[in-house]
């Protein structure tokens, strides 16, 4: 029996059980915490400690959302997060595009300048935030919107610069050259010709800058307090309490993850470039 040589059969389309199982398991792993958080957010507090747990709340309620947004100042955090993230995103995309264009078209500063910007991305934030805290206290930027906007602009610049750097390098320069020959200034060639052509790339870079600001916690924790606090820092209120605030924490989490997930999924075509700072074309 063993001597029968295996005849190579034409490849059969068998059902890849292993793959389906793996993918199914992973999907459940990804979705389960999100579901449980949503479930917790609409569950009446009486259902928290039942055995077995309440998998589907029969009497959904919005009281936790109300408490999270108003009693815990979640709404203030949300508004601060919007102001700060949007401002920093605009500044980061603008300054990032300017610099990236100069690097891509004029090779400004050679490799050194571009790698210097890249190296900023890998600095541990703890090394920066301590002295920034001291400086901010000295100049009155501590716990101000402006202060955090500046910090977030700087902290998203490496990604904006490198994403746009890669984008401009992948764009033919013939249009701008034609514009220069026609008597445009360099600024006009950039602003009226290159920028409109690069618009999709700029939007993608802005989306990733926004998500980075929206989800950032460490800088906000240290550089803000009662005035300019952002949404992620509101979660400090829920640490350590035994049981009572689960619904509020979950509700606030649901509120704050909707915008960034929506943007991220919409921009997923650019995700690989965003994650690798333009090093890999998705």
């Amino acid at each position: 029996m063993a001597a029968v040589a295996p005849v190579r059969r034409p490849k059969r389309r068998s059902i890849p059980v292993g793959r389906i199982l793996l993918l199914g398991f992973f999907l459940v792993f990804v979705l389960w915490p999100l579901y449980w958080m949503f479930n917790t957010s609409i569950k009446p507090s009486d259902d928290y400690l039942t055995v077995p747990p309440v998998w589907f709340p029969t009497a959904p309620t919005l009281v936790h959302y109300e408490a999270a947004l108003f009693a815990y100042r979640g709404l203030d955090g949300l508004i601060n997060s919007l102001i700060i993230s949007l401002s920093a995103t605009v500044l980061s995309a603008l300054f990032g595009t300017l610099m990236a264009y100069s690097l891509a078209r004029y090779n400004t500063g050679g490799q050194h300048l571009s790698f210097w910007v890249l190296s900023q991305r890998f600095l541990p934030p703890i090394g920066i935030v301590l002295p920034v805290f001291l400086i901010y206290r000295g100049v009155g930027l501590y716990d101000t919107h402006i202060g955090l906007i500046i910090a977030y602009t700087v902290f998203t610049l490496p990604v904006s610069v490198w994403m746009m750097f890669a984008y401009f390098r992948g764009m033919p320069k013939s249009m701008e050259e034609a514009a220069l020959v026609d008597g445009c200034t360099r600024w006009e060639a950039f602003w009226r010709v290159a920028v409109p052509l690069a618009a999709p790339g700029i939007v993608a870079a802005a989306v990733f800058a926004f998500i980075a600001c929206w989800t950032e916690f460490f800088f906000a924790l240290i550089l803000t307090s009662r005035t300019a606090f952002t949404l992620p820092t509101v979660f400090r209120a829920f640490i350590g309490f035994q049981g009572a605030q689960y619904g509020e924490a979950a509700a606030l989490a649901i509120v704050s993850l909707v915008p960034s997930i929506a943007l991220g999924v919409l921009a997923q075509r650019h995700l690989v470039r965003g994650l690798t700072l333009g090093a890999v074309r998705g």
């Binding site: 915490p33 078209r105 890998f122 934030p125 090394g127 920066i128 240290i222 989490a253 997930i261 991220g264």
Partner: protein, 313 residues
């Protein structure tokens, strides 16, 4: 004569409109003006603070001790001889190493299942990337809700599955609290590996596999001979980026364990944070953060140098 006439006519036609002195100056220094805002911002908020912190780390800058006397290397000594500091650095290395390794293997496996197109692939793709857009604070919160006793359903589910009572203190008992932190990190960042590795896998020309199949190579051999070498640069890139972020681990610890019990879950960032902001030994914290910076720089040099050498793009 005719030549000069032609040239001047050409000049007249193509000449830029008269620019003011300022505009001419701006056009001449155009490339430097474009980089100026970004460079100035980074100088002001990254380079200057770093230099400032270098100064702070050699003087006394402590909210509990008055004065700013020069103290030499004392601040550095305090960090180096602090057992908690050494523990936190070790834990940082362990936690990030294990998390990144799991994320890499799991991410690669999931990427391999997603290379070929199948019905529903787009939707699944959109679901799998969701954790990347969530604040780590919320990730920590979500896993707290699942794991914390007595509220979290995890022990109940395990009890049902295993048929015996499970009462694990996921956030309080060693080694489970490390497991919890790693699970939270793996949940959030496996998609990162997955996305980058999938991009690498789809870039491998499919005719290589077709040729291998004609040669009678089995799937396992094809993986070693074709997939791995082609994917290697991408793997290195994904590992480098991920590792450099993983060693900053702070947010999930802040939410899930608060560094506790005791100092058992202090990572480097968490240690420096508590030294600086709950004990207010700011100069000791800046000295420690410089040491951590140097440590990170070594990792960067080791990994990024390799990366730049192998990167095909």
């Amino acid at each position: 004569m005719q030549h000069t006439a032609t040239i001047s006519r050409l000049k007249a036609a193509g000449a830029p409109p008269r620019l003011s002195g300022l505009a001419q100056w701006a056009d001449r220094h155009f490339k430097w003006l474009l980089v100026a805002p970004a460079v100035l911002l980074i100088l002001a908020l990254s380079v200057y603070p770093l230099l400032f912190s270098l100064v702070v780390s050699f003087i006394n800058y402590d909210f509990q001790v008055p004065g700013h006397a020069f103290v030499g290397l004392k601040n550095f000594e305090r960090v180096v001889f602090d057992p908690v500091a050494r523990w936190s650095l070790l834990l940082t290395a362990w936690l990030s190493g294990i998390s990144v390794a799991i994320e890499f293997v799991l991410g690669l496996l999931v990427a391999l299942t997603m290379v070929r197109s199948f019905p529903g692939r787009g939707v699944i793709m959109s679901i799998l990337i969701v954790p990347l857009f969530i604040s780590p604070v919320i990730v920590g919160q979500a896993w707290t809700l699942l794991l914390q006793r007595p509220f979290g359903p995890t022990n109940y589910i395990l009890t049902q599955l295993l048929g015996q009572e499970v009462t694990i203190g996921w956030m309080t008992e060693s080694p489970w609290l490390y497991v919890s932190l790693i699970i939270a990190d793996v949940w959030q960042w496996t998609p990162f590996m997955f996305v980058i590795l999938l991009a690498g896998l789809t870039a491998i020309p499919p005719n290589l596999y077709e040729a291998a199949e004609l040669d009678g190579v089995n799937a396992w051999q094809a993986f070693w001979a074709i997939t791995l070498p082609h994917l290697a640069p991408m793997m290195l890139l994904a590992l480098t980026f991920r590792l450099l972020d993983a060693i900053r681990m702070f947010d999930t610890i802040f939410i899930m364990t608060g560094g506790g019990p005791g100092t058992r879950t202090y990572t480097a960032s968490y240690y420096l944070y508590t030294v600086g902001f709950t004990q207010f030994h700011l100069s000791q914290a800046t000295a420690g953060s410089w040491l951590f910076l140097i440590f990170t720089a070594l990792v960067v040099m080791l990994l990024v140098r390799r990366l730049l050498k192998t990167e095909p793009v």
